[in-house]
């Protein structure tokens, strides 16, 4: 088990390393060479002089050869900004002030802030949205999927199929706009847009702002999960060991829950882990539709303003989340299926 975990973590670290290289090449040399966008010019503000640009280059270390820049970048990602870099970028300021300006993911061009602090400010929104909507879609889809697998071709199963079709074919922003118009604007059930921080004393403002976007997002995923749960469950229910359980005299709910569900969950867990990892990198359409200031919205802003470090930082951050999600998925699968532990 420990071996398995170590191997997966080392493998994940390697994947992240490859991603950093890809991100560096894409947002560094490729961008500069292809589009004549020099990061230094962008950082230097409006209509900079040649001297300004040179200064910025030195400041950011862009005058160094690429491999040195990459090595510095990697070092910063792992260990945090070096003292030397702190002295260069924010001379004379306190450590806290400097942290606001310089972080592991670098500094934003558009705002005088570190990418880390930007992500840290936005991530709670995205995280809340992902968790609430994941809870909703799992709670909707797994029971529906299981029930329609137990009674295939029944009325309920057919209704579930219609639900799947609607959920999969309507884009989230469309459902989102309809929901805002009817539920928030006409009926006033939910706030129109925005986000409130989570407070343990009164979580309602937080939840009321999140509920509608999470619900809309969950609807699209639930449709997919109903389909997968149904087909997995149908397959599992026709397995020989399920027949054995029935031959033992186990009741139908017991057969479904104790014998079939765990086997059917394996592929669903795998998919869920990946989807959640993906969502934690930001749900752009939902965030924009509902005016949520999450990572997705940040990515859109950054891209529009050619804020290279922020965009790169978000890409890298999402990649790390997805790799982490993968490892968690593997662990959960191993705990569900003893045959995986052997590996």
């Amino acid at each position: 088990m420990i071996r398995f975990l170590i191997r997966r973590i080392l493998g994940g670290a390697f994947v992240v390393l490859v991603v950093t290289l890809a991100v560096f090449v894409l947002f560094g040399p490729v961008l500069t060479w292809k589009s004549n966008i020099t990061p230094a010019r962008l950082y230097a503000g409006k209509s900079p002089t040649a001297k300004d640009i040179e200064q910025v280059k030195t400041l950011l270390g862009l005058d160094q050869p690429y491999y040195v820049q990459y090595a510095y970048g990697l070092r910063r990602l792992v260990l945090g900004p070096s003292q030397d870099e702190r002295d260069r970028v924010c001379p004379g300021s306190t450590a806290e002030e400097c942290d606001q300006l310089l972080g592991r993911f670098g500094s934003s061009f558009a705002k005088q802030r570190s990418v880390d602090s930007l992500i840290a400010a936005r991530f709670p929104v995205t995280l809340s949205l992902a968790i609430v909507s994941a809870l909703i879609w799992l709670l909707i889809s797994i029971p529906i999927g299981v029930l329609s697998a137990i009674r295939p071709r029944s009325l309920g199963d057919r209704m579930a199929t219609v639900f799947v079709l609607i959920g999969q074919s309507l884009p989230v922003y469309y459902i989102g706009l309809l929901a805002i118009y009817f539920l928030s604007y006409r009926l006033g059930l939910f706030p129109l847009s925005g986000y409130e921080s989570f407070a343990i004393t009164n979580p309602w403002p937080w939840l009321s702002h999140l509920l509608l976007p999470a619900l809309v997002l969950a609807l699209a995923f639930a449709a997919l999960y109903v389909r997968i749960t149904r087909s997995q469950m149908l397959d599992t229910l026709s397995e020989d060991y399920v027949r054995t359980a029935r031959a033992k005299g186990a009741s139908e709910p017991r057969v479904v829950v104790r014998h079939a569900l765990r086997n059917a969950m394996l592929p669903i867990v795998t998919m869920f882990g990946l989807d959640l990892g993906l969502l934690l990198g930001g749900a752009i359409l939902i965030e924009v539709t509902f005016g949520l200031q999450g990572l997705g919205a940040l990515a859109v802003e950054a891209a529009k303003r050619l804020d290279v470090p922020t965009t790169a930082g978000i890409v890298l951050f999402s990649a790390i989340l997805i790799v982490a999600a993968n490892i968690v998925v593997d662990l959960v699968c191993a705990s569900l299926d003893p045959r995986i532990r052997l590996e």
């Binding site: 071996r3 170590i6 191997r7 080392l10 493998g11």
Partner: protein
């Protein structure tokens, strides 16, 4: 005796055992097949018999070069083809084809059976499209199927018919040797007889040579001129078909014969049966000495240390046992 058509010497095939957290290095090889010799003469049938885990399927795959062999040589019509690649391998594969156990799994369900049978011709680029179609229809007819079934899909056929399709696919290249991996074990008894008879007819009409892999001595009794019994990667007994059945010398062969259910209740009630205890040991860590000794009903102390070699007498009957049955 004629020149052998296929001759294998000292065939050893292993699977890697790997260790290590990041870089998987090979620490050992599990010998699934550990030094097997085999000679097939033209027009003859050689049966390789053994239970699951004895290495017979791995051996078959090695012989048709679906797997690389670690050691040993395979000669086809006097030519060493052990390491052949590319064109030479392709020429060999036209001469030596294979029939698989599961006729359902070995046919692509989305491919019309004509296409399935024709595929080997397409791969080897034999003949014009017209020729190919004609040869496919001939092959279908030869195995007792209606050539007009060319355009049907596999699901429209019964198990026995699908095995006929598998045989047609092996035949269409007009090979010299067909390696049959458990050709009838997935079929009903009455259909087994049809397939065994078909294989015999084809051998007589086309002068084919067969290597038949089977777990059941009874099934190959009809077909085999010679039989090799395998246990844990080794040949433990070989001989002419009837020799092995009527005068088995290796205790494992004796146990295999004794284990067959006998379709005669009076005999079944009275006969002395050797029932082996336990399971076949893992080839990762084979027993010392004779590999069969932990389960052998007549093992002696020396069997735990001495590994008997297969010694074949002048009559072609050989066994690897220090204390053979009499």
């Amino acid at each position: 005796m004629s020149e052998p058509i296929l001759k294998a010497t000292g065939i050893t095939i292993g699977f890697p055992v790997t260790r290590g957290i990041i870089l998987q290095r090979e620490v050992a090889r599990v010998q699934a097949v550990a030094g097997v010799d085999l000679t097939l003469h033209a027009g003859e049938t050689l049966a390789v018999v053994g239970e699951s885990g004895c290495g017979k399927t791995t051996l078959a795959r090695g012989l048709v070069r679906l797997r690389d062999v670690d050691a040993g040589t395979i000669e086809f019509m006097g030519e060493d083809i052990t390491r052949k690649r590319g064109r030479g391998l392709s020429a060999f594969r036209r001469q030596v084809t294979m029939i698989f156990q599961d006729p359902i799994a070995s046919l692509d369900p989305r491919m019309r059976i004509g296409q399935s049978v024709q595929e080997p011709l397409d791969i080897h680029g034999i003949g014009t499209p017209g020729d190919r179609k004609r040869r496919v229809q001939e092959a279908l007819e030869r195995v007792g199927l209606n050539p007009e079934h060319y355009n049907r899909f596999p699901h429209a056929f019964s198990g026995g018919q699908r095995q006929r399709i598998g045989i047609a696919r092996a035949l269409v290249l007009e090979p010299r040797v067909i390696v049959c991996d458990e050709p009838v074990s997935a079929l009903d008894v009455s259909v087994q007889a049809q397939i065994v008879n078909l294989l015999e007819d084809l051998q007589r009409d086309l002068g084919l040579s067969y290597i038949v892999i089977a777990h059941d001595l009874d099934v190959v009794r009809r077909l085999a001129d010679r039989v090799q019994v395998m246990y844990l990667g080794r040949v433990v007994e070989e001989g002419g078909g009837e020799q092995v059945y009527t005068q088995a010398r290796h205790p494992y062969t004796g146990a295999l014969l004794s284990a067959r259910p006998i379709a005669d209740p009076k005999v079944a009630r009275t006969r002395q049966r050797i029932v082996l205890q336990g399971d076949v040991p893992s080839p990762i860590n084979p027993p010392s000495g004779c590999r069969f000794h932990p389960r052998c009903p007549v093992a002696q102390a020396s069997c735990t240390t001495d590994d008997p070699r297969l010694v074949v007498g002048a009559d072609g009957h050989g066994w690897a046992c220090a204390y053979p049955l009499s």
